[in-house]
């Protein structure tokens, strides 16, 4: 083996087995029971996330529909006013800005 290393399959196996037998200095192995319970907790968490996922996905849609509805309502009210005053214009812009701000905050929190 010294002159022709790994001439046979058995030599390779012996070398690798010797390497595998070398001690590994490190911490003791993690506790199996602790790992089991950690996995159980993670599984429950996964299940909860799966349950809540459709609701979380629908939240931006809900905000979008609400915002679109408010815009349509404002436009409809605007058309029905005979002569819009400066106060009404200001109130409309203010309402629209507040609606956009609320939508942005809601989307950011979700």
């Amino acid at each position: 083996m010294a002159d022709r290393p790994f001439a046979r399959e058995g030599d390779v196996r012996a070398w690798m087995q010797a390497l595998a037998a070398l001690p590994i200095n490190g911490r003791p192995l993690p506790d199996a029971r602790q790992l089991w319970w950690k996995a159980e907790l993670l599984k429950r968490w996964d299940a909860q996330r799966q349950t809540v996922a459709p609701i979380e996905r629908a939240e931006p849609l809900q905000v979008g529909i609400g915002l679109a509805g408010a815009v349509v309502l404002l436009a409809w009210l605007w058309r029905s006013v005979p002569a819009p005053s400066n106060t009404l214009i200001f109130a409309t812009i203010l309402t629209f800005t507040v609606l956009v701000a609320i939508a942005a905050l809601t989307l950011r929190q979700s």
Partner: protein, 166 residues
């Protein structure tokens, strides 16, 4: 899998898995993290088999994938700290020879180290190695042959160093 079955499976596989990851990766701290993560992933799999002979290859496949992810991450992080290389806690010429073995093994590419370990320590066949490393069975045969040749040439290159030491 229930708790008792897991405890039994863990006691039969943890040392072997840790040795595989630690020797192939060369970093005991990372190895412990990957060992834990491998078991957690296995336990969280919705359709994991209950049969331990089927679970063991699956566990090693998960660990192999995690090691591959770790190498990719290391490649991305250019200023990675030097690995905490595993060295046996011995003195004398015996230790020099042992260190030689570890150094030679780490001159192989990561995938080559994985293949050699799975083939010659775990006793996995070509199909199992291919499954664990995401390769084709035919490729494993060729790659293993090349790795053996490379290991042989590396060992021949180490010989003059040994004569200097001893």
């Amino acid at each position: 899998m229930d708790e008792d079955a897991f405890l039994s499976f863990y006691s039969g596989t943890a040392s072997a898995l840790r040795a595989y990851v630690a020797r192939v990766l060369g970093d005991i701290n990372q190895a412990d993290d990957i060992v834990q993560e491998s078991y957690l992933k296995l336990l969280r799999m919705p359709a994991a088999p209950d049969d331990p002979p089927q679970l063991r290859p699956l566990l090693f496949r998960i660990a192999s994938n995690l090691m591959t992810d770790e190498w990719r991450r290391r490649r991305r992080v250019s200023n990675a700290a030097a690995a905490h290389v595993l060295e046996p806690n011995r003195s004398s010429l015996d230790m020099v020879l042992r260190l030689d073995m570890i150094r030679v093994f780490h001159q192989l590419k990561p995938q080559q180290r994985q293949m050699m370990w799975l083939a010659y320590v775990e006793g996995a066949d070509h199909r199992e190695i291919a499954s664990a490393l995401g390769l084709r069975e035919g490729s494993v045969r060729v790659l293993l042959h090349r790795t053996r040749r490379k290991l042989a040439s590396l060992l021949q290159a180490v010989k003059p160093c040994r004569s200097i030491h001893g």
